[in-house]
């Protein structure tokens, strides 16, 4: 063996070793999944076979996907994004590639994506992401991240599925639930009609306007309305037509003649807009007016009553004035007597007002006249058994009588001097006078009494005040030891 041949052999062995090492390195790289593609000898030329999928076919697949999709490397940087996602983000692929996906989504959505990727190390994860928009409705997406082996690196496949419509529908559904709850809980009758006037919804309170199931029936047929102020021109079907054309109607009084009980209603109707501006029907609200009507009647009654009473009072005042004038000799005497009588009338009115013109007890009336004289001589007055309630007209009459008797007693009778005494007491029912209530005013210990020479107004008032009824009267007995007056209150005026 020559030196040259020995050297060639060494070179050959070195080359073989190198090639063996290279072959082993290739096999190891393939086994360790470090190789992206292999070069194969084809019929004409070398061909490249990508191991683990061709990126181009991935991309083609991603492009036809409806959801936005991106392939991210291990640190969350965009390797590739499909056009759906690019459009959603309003950017370009060149802008997006190499950037952290979380940085391109805005603060809130970016945080969500970071959280999503951190949880999707080995398993698929999903999360709802909201993209706020200034003037339009926010967009809602379900973002899904799955681990993805990209050649030799581990990254993520992320998809964004638009669920805005679903979220909005859920919101709309919730609103509808709320609206239904509102309608159901309303005390007023609420009925919803479609554009043809067919009732589609009605709450429980609607049973006061229609006795039965109104759903599917024509509003104007089952609830014919007569509007008070329209002279029959406007009817229920005109109302529905008007409202579905966009003109709302507020608070119009109507009579629902077919309604089971209550007939008077305050009707309001508004166009029903479900989607956008299109009117899809009418919402009719009917409020029971029977209580208001009853209150109006009561008010009218009270006003007529007041008118009647004022006229009566004025007539009484005129009569008092005329009588007082004919029985007094000086202006001074007239003034004193007249104002005293008017004040007595006013005192009874005050008592009546405090009791809302319902009823008064005879005791209260007598006390309002006698009270000024009790303070000085409490032992001069005794009142017994007068806790009897009477109507306003008897109260006014008894008030005037009590005033005249008191004035007379103070001027000329038992209260004009020390030792005099007045007793006002109940006698009982007089069956001969239809059960009238009889009481007695008796004076004693005063100056000696003689029958008057002429009958003054006081006497006339006392005698006539209660004569409006057959059971009512007042009679005098001019007993020398003191005046006695028997007063009968008609039984119909006892409460």
């Amino acid at each position: 063996m020559t030196r040259d041949s020995s050297s060639d052999k060494d070179l050959l062995i070195a080359d073989l070793r190198r090639r063996l090492a290279e072959a082993e390195e290739t096999l190891r790289a393939i086994r360790d999944n470090e190789v992206d593609a292999l070069v194969m000898r084809g019929a004409l030329a070398e061909e490249i076979f990508t191991i683990g999928g061709d990126p181009e076919s991935y991309r083609t697949f991603m492009e036809v996907m409806e959801p936005g999709a991106a392939a991210l490397d291990g640190s969350g940087r965009v390797l590739y994004a499909n056009s759906a996602l690019i459009q959603l983000l309003g950017t370009s692929l060149a802008e997006l590639q190499g950037k952290l996906l979380s940085d391109t989504l805005g603060i809130e959505a970016g945080k969500e994506i970071k959280r999503l990727l951190s949880h999707a190390g080995t398993t698929r994860q999903s999360r709802e992401v909201r993209f706020p928009r200034d003037e339009e409705v926010d967009l809602h997406f379900i973002a899904v991240a799955s681990p993805l082996q990209l050649g030799t690196t581990l990254g993520h496949a992320v998809t964004f599925t638009n669920v805005t419509e679903r979220v909005l529908n859920e919101g709309a559904e919730q609103s509808e639930h709320a609206a239904r709850a509102v309608i159901a809980s309303a005390n007023e009758a609420v009925l919803v009609c479609d554009r043809d006037g067919i009732i589609t919804h009605a709450n429980a309170a609607a049973s006061i306007v229609y006795d039965g199931d109104p759903i599917g029936q024509t509003f104007a047929e089952i609830i014919p309305l007569v509007f008070r102020d329209s002279a029959g021109v406007l009817q229920a079907d005109d109302m529905v037509a008007m409202v579905t054309n966009g003109t709302p109607m507020r608070g119009i009084e109507a009579v629902a003649s077919h309604a089971p009980k209550v007939k008077d209603y305050l009707v309001s109707a508004a166009p029903l807009r479900i989607a956008g501006d299109r009117i899809s029907g009418a919402v009719v609200t009917m409020v029971d007016l029977s209580q208001r009507k009853a209150a109006e009647k009561q008010q009218n009654l009270l006003m007529r009553e007041l008118d009647h009473r004022v006229k009566n009072t004025l007539a009484l005042v005129v009569s008092i004035s005329a009588r007082t004038a004919s029985n007094t000799d000086t202006v001074q005497a007239f003034q004193t007597a007249f104002s005293g009588r008017i004040q007595a009338l006013a005192a009874t009115h005050t008592l009546l007002l405090e009791n809302s013109w319902s009823s008064l007890e005879l005791y209260d009336i007598a006390m309002s006249e006698l009270a000024p004289y009790i303070e000085g001589g409490a032992d001069q007055i005794t009142i017994e058994g007068l806790n009897v309630a009477v109507t306003p007209r008897a109260a006014i009459a008894f008030g005037l009588i009590a005033h005249e008797l008191t004035t007379n007693a103070v001027k000329h009778g038992a209260l004009s001097q020390q030792g005099g005494h007045v007793t006002v007491r109940a006698i009982g029912r007089d069956l001969g006078k239809n059960g009238a209530f009889v009481l007695e005013w008796r004076e004693s210990g005063g100056p000696r009494v003689a029958p008057p020479e002429r009958k003054g107004f006081g006497h006339t008032v006392i005698a006539r005040s209660l004569e409006y009824s057959t059971g009512g009267s007042a009679e005098f007995d001019f007993d020398p030891s003191g005046i006695v007056c028997r007063i009968s209150i008609p039984s119909e005026d006892l409460c």
Partner: protein
């Protein structure tokens, strides 16, 4: 360092006897040295090249 995309020019693979991608070929200094597979670990790549260079 020249970067060659073999998908665009597969002929070059035969000339350099390349069967797998990625492959890093060191032509100079001799001898030829090939690193096949994961090249992302820069330190490992450099060490490999230097170690083989010294062998």
């Amino acid at each position: 360092v020249e970067v060659i995309d073999l998908r665009k020019d597969p002929k070059l693979a035969r000339e350099h006897g390349i069967v797998a991608i990625p492959t890093l070929v060191r032509e100079l200094p001799l001898p030829f040295r090939k690193l096949i597979g994961d090249l992302s670990n820069t330190h490992k790549v450099l060490v490999n090249l230097e170690v083989s260079d010294g062998a």
